[in-house]
Symmetry: D2
Subunit: 385 residues, 4 copies
Amino acid sequence: MLTAWAVADVGQEEDFEAAKEKALKVGATKVIIQDLRKEFVEEFCFPAIQCNAIYENVYLLGTSLARPVIARAQIAVALQEGCFAVSHGCTGKGNDQVRFELAFYALKPDIKVIAPWRLPVFYERFAGRNDLLEYATKCGIPVSQTKAKPWSMDENLAHCSYEAGILEDPDMTPLRDMWKLTVDPEDAPNKPEDFTVHFEKGLPVKLVVGDKTITDPLELFLAANTIARNHGVGRIDIVENRFIGLKSRGCYETPGLTILRSAHIDLEGLVLDREVRALRDQFVTYNYSKLLYNGLYFSPEREFLEGAILASQTTVNGTVRCRAYKGSLQILGRSSETEKLYDMTESSMDEIGDFAPSDSTGFIAVQAIRLKKYGKKKLEAGEKL
Amino acid sequence: MLTAWAVADVGQEEDFEAAKEKALKVGATKVIIQDLRKEFVEEFCFPAIQCNAIYENVYLLGTSLARPVIARAQIAVALQEGCFAVSHGCTGKGNDQVRFELAFYALKPDIKVIAPWRLPVFYERFAGRNDLLEYATKCGIPVSQTKAKPWSMDENLAHCSYEAGILEDPDMTPLRDMWKLTVDPEDAPNKPEDFTVHFEKGLPVKLVVGDKTITDPLELFLAANTIARNHGVGRIDIVENRFIGLKSRGCYETPGLTILRSAHIDLEGLVLDREVRALRDQFVTYNYSKLLYNGLYFSPEREFLEGAILASQTTVNGTVRCRAYKGSLQILGRSSETEKLYDMTESSMDEIGDFAPSDSTGFIAVQAIRLKKYGKKKLEAGEKL
Amino acid sequence: MLTAWAVADVGQEEDFEAAKEKALKVGATKVIIQDLRKEFVEEFCFPAIQCNAIYENVYLLGTSLARPVIARAQIAVALQEGCFAVSHGCTGKGNDQVRFELAFYALKPDIKVIAPWRLPVFYERFAGRNDLLEYATKCGIPVSQTKAKPWSMDENLAHCSYEAGILEDPDMTPLRDMWKLTVDPEDAPNKPEDFTVHFEKGLPVKLVVGDKTITDPLELFLAANTIARNHGVGRIDIVENRFIGLKSRGCYETPGLTILRSAHIDLEGLVLDREVRALRDQFVTYNYSKLLYNGLYFSPEREFLEGAILASQTTVNGTVRCRAYKGSLQILGRSSETEKLYDMTESSMDEIGDFAPSDSTGFIAVQAIRLKKYGKKKLEAGEKL
Amino acid sequence: MLTAWAVADVGQEEDFEAAKEKALKVGATKVIIQDLRKEFVEEFCFPAIQCNAIYENVYLLGTSLARPVIARAQIAVALQEGCFAVSHGCTGKGNDQVRFELAFYALKPDIKVIAPWRLPVFYERFAGRNDLLEYATKCGIPVSQTKAKPWSMDENLAHCSYEAGILEDPDMTPLRDMWKLTVDPEDAPNKPEDFTVHFEKGLPVKLVVGDKTITDPLELFLAANTIARNHGVGRIDIVENRFIGLKSRGCYETPGLTILRSAHIDLEGLVLDREVRALRDQFVTYNYSKLLYNGLYFSPEREFLEGAILASQTTVNGTVRCRAYKGSLQILGRSSETEKLYDMTESSMDEIGDFAPSDSTGFIAVQAIRLKKYGKKKLEAGEKL
């Protein structure tokens, strides 16, 4: 049987030559390495920034974002090579199996998926990663998870994740040398680094740091990564709820995305209408994040929500000045040449402007109608407020 | 006319004796100083922690939380002293006038409110804070906003806010010496500080730092403040949307609340059911925060939502280990003796447990039904996914 | 002073000549009558059908829909005639003043609005409608609200509303002869009437009834009206919550809109993806309806939501067969030639199709993971489920 | 092997003696018939009324409501009889398998479930209902679905459902004699029937019709059924989205529940605060309905949401007068002796009351701030509104 081995370059710092050799060694008849970094940034990371995507308040979805772009490339290879099936190496308890397979099925509804970790012939022989590590050692297959690094990693240009192994104890603090992308905040430079991000329609279009100005999306994203990595920005450690219904502990570093998302949120304060922002937060951000996490990228609801993202971002144009320092990001200021929702004179407490203070009296009086009734009833009932 | 001057001690670092003197000097016939710190922490700050309250993704509502407790005490004083009206010093463009007055009206529906900044006799004479500062200087009335500190502040034990004056330019970075509560992260100790927060039903019940163990709510909150202030944790700088429809720039430091809220969110990852968390996030957190911001604390909807908060927190019991360092907070680990939603064995990638990997196949197959149809239609229509 | 009197024809059954005469008689220097029916149906009623707009579960927003189209025409007349101000006759306690004025201000931010009912010179002289009726009688100004019809009406081609007067007692059943548009269900024909509505992208594009086929939007809407009016379909009687914070009792008849909206909802069952529908229901329908009711049609959020409506309706193509009879509407069947989400074979309980029943076992097992934990905890705690 | 056969009486009009005989005939060693009607009404139907439960705008969840009460009784029997497993007869494509099994697993996490329709030994032999009908005929097992009634039914005291068979064509109008519970509206009496429903805390506590007054919950529910059945109220015919991801056509008659839910919604207009109602609608009603439909009754989220339902209903006290006629329900009026949110004088257009019309001016002016900015930008951009 011919086996095409597709390796997606989504920005992980990997030795692709070694990967190729390993693939050929374990039986691949053909190895195809594709650079997906540009489409990964432009089609997946940037919309996530546009809608401030976040799962369960903290997780920036670094792995979730990469799965659909990988799956799409894998199906393209499968079509090109005439494969009768595609495969993946995800376990049967995690989110990634769902993300890969739902993408496969949406992209090619008649595809056959082989998931070895869910085949009794495999899982009855290998009870877990340890058994597999032993088997790999025995057979001379090189693997990155080792006894010295007793956890599992997933890396791409947006993030690196760490889970399983010793991390399964949620009270076990990650070892200092586990983190791969970012320096430990304690080891970060004592001098802060300032930079500026420019947005158009909610998309980062220019990053200025020192004497460098970057506009290419991929380069811009990588430059944001460099800043954040140098200053230890973007680490989190959480227990999250998998789609599959289990809780799971994960450590993530998401350097550049953390910076760009925070800058975007800040700019929206200046230029986005209050009600549009509120609807977008409650409806688009929440649900877009959830569908990414659950592997429903190629779905009618993603198409629907992306229409809403676009509709929300027409005014998100402007510039945010930021500072990275010892693990944290600080906003220094923001401005927009085109948007005028914020009006210094009008907001000013020092000027009356064309706003009649007495209007507020009426505004409050009307808001109070309902509350006076409520208060009256409480008083009559002798209930304390 | 007799004028009772009520001063609420909500933890601001103020010279209450001086305040009393000032009040008597400007015409008060009686000055009543009340320590509201305990009820402020227990009735207002703690529920905010329980539901992770946050406005527009970033603002922790430090001012909003204090207004209702002050208003309630003010109405109590008004009743006790037989006042025919209450007054406040808020401008006619801000949120605080709304927050105070809606609380007044709910607590005593027939109260008369005097809002000098909205009376033509005043606002036609004094166009803004600058005119008032001059007038105060002329009359020898001491005020904290000065030419040297050209901004307005509001402080309580949960936070200190800075707005107006030179901050009205949203691109003006706050001066280093503006911040009052927290040290500049760059000046914070080079050594991190670790501590542990214990929660019961979502409320912080014990804080352990060094060899100290604090359980009294007020003391606990103040201890969290001390840690965060020493390490520069809890500063933000935003442009927000006022209830009144204007955008406004505010800088806030919210030291202890930032820490306790983050620890609470982390613990929920371990002990709160996924669906309860999701519903709480999307509806309770969002709406409770919004009503706090808009001054609707004494309202039917707050009573309704507080019922929902309580219903959501029965399982939020456990301990979170944290680290403060140079402006950021890091979670080191978490555990719970009573809650068992997280199960290391079960989540483990290294063991099969009583979970059949093949179940995931069925789960994915069913989830895919809808997506296969979607993909098929796209293929037929020749649309790219 | 020259006073242009603009009369909007939004389909109300009014004697426009008489209106003109009355206007000239009471002082108008120019009377402009505009037929807005086409734009009212196409730009306002149809999007409402597309998103199933409804306020507080029951009210189909007949008045709310007409206000923005009237306000837009009025501003256009004001511009054309060089008016320094516009006016309206709404009371100071209702929704319509808000709807008209917010539209005026959005369309022409510097417009001056004269609202006589809120001017002390008027409201101190006339305490309510009764005083005005008397004054009108005295001055010979003809008005439609009379002693014989002691309520207030608002009519357009989408609906007729009845409120105030004797209807202010919420327990007072409307008089049989109050209803203007629809026949009393008890007087409706004993024979049902069947008809078919065709939709494209969520818009009604063809109505077939008897041997008539109507495709023009305005004609189609009027034909739907005719059917519903003849059979007494579309009456409601509610107590609703005004934007202004008061509760209010209203009786509404909304004949054609009731029919077209119901048919649209039914078709969505057949052709709209489950998740798109759920998101649309919870966010778009709810918020679009609320903003219509509150008079925020010309707003950033409406523009945002209309983007979302369009994104949701691409698949809403098909035909619904309906029956009107004695006050109720019944769906007889539905079909679509283009959409294939519903698949008889696949849904059939009588065939296995390419669906493996065992997949459901896995689906259920995975869904049960979380619930088993919940059940186990309840059992351990001795709590009954 | 001993086989206990449990028959739940949830109000279906069934010959329980015949059911018993049939069970014994096909191999049951013991038949246990339990009357669950009271707990079905009180614990399941009434909370559904309290929160106006509805799925996808139209379906009142009659089947979904009965599954958990049946499952709970079945598990109780299983425990009492020492069963090692429970079973059900649901197909592998529907919702009911999910509803039963998720309930079983929550109630007794270690239970074994036997689902014959998902066992290859069965589904490979019997491809669908037709094969089973033939087999039943051959073996002399009496079944209610016959060649003459080519559809499947599920009945309980809240509703009767019809699906599958000839109904699988969504454009096939149900036969006139299919409907079992309600008379055809065309055959309903020519005289309307009036009645009154009284609610306390959102629960129906008294129904008065003619000279009868009913207060017992079960009797009250049955009386509502009688009225609605006689007048053909409560039929619907829809295409819905199953949890399993398939679309499905169902016809339902839900007589009494339709009436009681409509009366409840009407009363809420009079007595429920606007904001509580809005939050409840968007959050509790939507999600409670969805979890019922998806079989997640015994879940943390249901417990959470039921807390919220209770918190929302404290003021829902009052009386609604209704009329049933020829398939439709009409509200004649409503009143409350205890709740005072609605105030005739205050809402009246005919009196000023203690409300200053000029307050509305301020209210509108403040609401307009944001919209004027929006309008100004549109004008500057030359975009039409």
